[in-house]
Structure formats: C-alpha cells, structure tokens
C-alpha cells in the first residue's frame, strides 16, 4: 500500500467520555440494529473488563458493520429505529456488570473471500481516548487465515479479535482493556 498523504490540519485531541453521558448518548433501541423478530437476527454480546479483570460498568460501545450481503449501507434513521431499516450502526451503554448486547445480523464479506468483521469502538470513564478494534466472525476459517491484519498478529493476539459462536447462534466477544489476553486495539493511517 502506498504512503498515506500528509494531513493539512492537525486533529483535535480526544478526551474521556466521563461518567455522565447517560441522558445524552443512549436512545431507544440504540443496540437493536435488527429487530429481534427478524429471523436472521443474531445476538452479539460480551463483557468488558479492566486490568484487574474487574468488569467496567460505565463503558459505552458502538458497532458499525455491513449488512448480511456484505453491502455497506448509507441510511439515516439510526436514532429513530423503525424496526425495518438496517443502518449498520448501533450503540450500547454496558450494564452494571459490564455486559453488553447488540441485536444485529451477521455481516457478509464486503468482497469475495474477505473475512467478515464488525467494527467496534470503545469509550469509558478512565479511558482518555476512544479505542477501535474488529470483531471477526469465526466461521470462514480460510478467509480468516488470509486476513492481512490477523496474519500480522500472534496466535494469542489473533484470538482476541475473533468472536465465539455460541450454541444458540449468538456471537460472544469479550473486551479486555488491559492485562491477560488484552484485546488488540487498532490504529489507522492519517491519525496525526
């Protein structure tokens, strides 16, 4: 890949989300990208923990993903969910025990042979800037083996980015901000 062009302006610094976003950011059905009544809907869930393995009860998570066919949609209406329109984006404030749930669909591969993944961003009190990572679906092992990001990681790191499929079809993805099995977080070109 070619070198990313230099930025013309210097980006504004981020800051922590803090503890008091409760009346501002959550909204009705914020974590329901798809209706639970949709036969193709799946539950994506997990727990977020800190460096002591303690749950983080005040994190806010967002996901952004392609639809079942791997199409990246550009549709408004996320903040006023109608139960029919898939907008690809959702948000959830974790519960008192650091657990989150999204209702969504399995994203399809955006290109033939690509490993499908969901983009995740993490905000929390105590976390001074947002973190990005990817939640890969576990099924297409050939595509996972060919994925350039996963190929650049150790086996232990790689396993932090691949969700587990549970018996009922749910995807399980835990987030460990620090310590043992620390989740791999990502940086992208042109951040500074």
């Amino acid at each position: 890949m070619a070198q990313a062009p230099e930025l013309k302006l210097v980006p504004t610094p981020g800051q922590t989300i803090g503890p008091f976003y409760g009346y501002a950011l959550p909204f009705e059905k914020d974590n329901e990208l798809a209706s639970q009544a949709n036969p193709n809907s799946v539950r994506l869930h997990g727990v977020i923990t800190d460096g002591n393995g303690e749950v983080i009860p005040d994190a806010l998570l967002e996901i952004w993903q392609a639809d079942e066919h791997g199409k990246v949609v550009s549709r408004d209406g996320s903040l006023v969910r109608d139960g029919y329109t898939f907008t690809g984006w959702g948000r959830v404030a974790v519960d008192n025990v650091g657990h989150y749930t999204f209702t969504t669909v399995n994203p399809g591969p955006t290109e033939e042979g690509k490993a499908p993944f969901i983009m995740l961003t993490v905000f929390a009190r105590g976390l001074l800037n947002r973190l990005f990572t990817r939640i890969y679906l576990p099924e297409d092992t050939k595509a996972l083996a060919n994925d350039p990001l996963l190929a650049s990681l150790s086996e232990a790191e790689r396993s932090t980015l691949i969700a587990t499929r549970e018996q009922d079809g749910s995807l399980r993805f835990d987030i460990r901000l620090q310590g043992e099995n620390e989740t791999v977080f990502l940086s992208y070109p042109r951040e500074s």
Binding site: L9, E62, D76, V80, L128, L153, F185, Y188
Partner: protein
Amino acid sequence: MSTGTTHQDGTEAESFANSHLLDPAATTASQDEISGEIADIHEAYRQEVLAGKKAETQPRIDFAPYRSSLLRHPTKNLHHADPETIELHSPAFGQRDVHALESDLTIQHNGEPIGERIVVAGRVLDGDGRPVAGQLVEIWQANAAGRYIHKRDQHPAPIDPNFTGVGRAITGPNGEYSFTTIKPAPYPWKNHHNAWRPAHIHFSLFGTDFTQRMITQMYFPGDPLFALDPIYQSITDAKARDRLVATYDHSLTSHEWATGYNWDIVLTGSNRTWMEDEEGEH
C-alpha cells in the same frame, strides 16, 4: 431523573447528606502531588521533543495522574491496520434523526434555565480541511451550578428543572454547527483531594470514515483550573491542549441575548479518497 435518593437498582442509598464523603483510597493524593506528577510527565515530554520527537496531538491513554486511567488503558501499542471497506465509510444521519430544535438546550422545558446563555458555534472539518457535512454532533454538559442530570452525580449543587444539558445537531453543508446553551460551571470530582474539573462541554463527533469517530471536551478560555486538571493535562503538548479551548467571538454574541464562543473541530484524515484513487490507478 434521580435526585440522589431514589434507587430502583437496589444499590445503597446515596444522598446529599453523605455526598461529601469521598472514597478514601481515591482521595489520598493532594493537588500538589497530582500537579507534581503532571509536571514530571510534561517535562519528560518536553525533553523528548527537544531531542527531535514528533509533537503529540492526542492525550496519553496511560496517564497516572488521572487515577481512573490506571487499569483502563491497553498496555500494548495500538496495532496498525490498513482500513478495509467498512472502515472507509461512516453511518449516515439526517434530519429524520435529529430535530432542528434539539440544538437549543435552553428550550427543552417549560421555563428558562438559570445561568449565562451562550452560543457555541463552529465547523467540523477533516484532516484535509474538508467540511464534514450532514453529520451528527452530540453534546452534554453540567448546568450553571456544575451539576449533571445523572444519578451518579452527587455534587450537592442544585439541579435546574429547566436544564437537562443534552443537545444534538446535524452539521450544515460547510460542516457548521451551532448550539444555544447555558455556560456550564466547574464541578468537584474524586480523582484526588479537592479535585475540580474546568468547565467543559462534551462533544461526540462522526466523520466520513468511522475511523474518524471521536469524543472530546470543549473548554472555555482562561479557566484557572486548566493547570490542575489531569484529564486536560493528559494532552502533554501545549498547542494540542489549546485546540480544545473555544474562542470568545463577539460576532457570535447577539444583542441583549447571548454571548458567543467559536470552536472548530478537526477529525483525523479520511482514508477513503486516497485509497480509492490508488485503487483506480491499477
């Protein structure tokens, strides 16, 4: 809305009466100790820059003077990823999502909120200087007494029944936004003994690529608490810190109505254009 005494989740009752009792472990450090730690980190950074290191533009995520960061930052370096399709796009928002009146935080209740009415206006740009048009901006803040509407805010300052402190807007064609609100006050928190946050408004922003997603805080010029605040000072570079401070702008001030502040926000660079250009060359 909680007043600090109603508890549906079965947690121990909190009230104004005990709200001054802070967690002893969290408050053993004095402001002098925290300020000393900040000064040491900033001095080390200054030496690195003198030795030729590139200036930092973002906060450190490992910043011990902000005690809550100790166990909540990754210890490994962020891993470089070449963005793929989904990472080159962003969710879409529009007038369907946000009503125009949601950008006025002073008209959400039956009466006028107490405090100094202000307008905060500016533009959202990307790292190439291009306006980010038609995107969602969300804000939240304390009221004129330094109190948030939140059950975990136990600061014994009055709640304003006419102020929730929450607003949304969709940026215009030139990336412009404008909020009418009340100037927030500083408030105490439990990072260390006698810790006070500078007055600020939280901003949540989207770009054209989801990798530009950010949440930050806008501050007001000349706040005497800047030097003491480990969240603001987690940005080690003075020029970078200044980018979070709005400018008083008399052209935004309106006659006998509200004072005005300008604050432009620059997101990171979009990767879509240059990567698509590159793809087109093959």
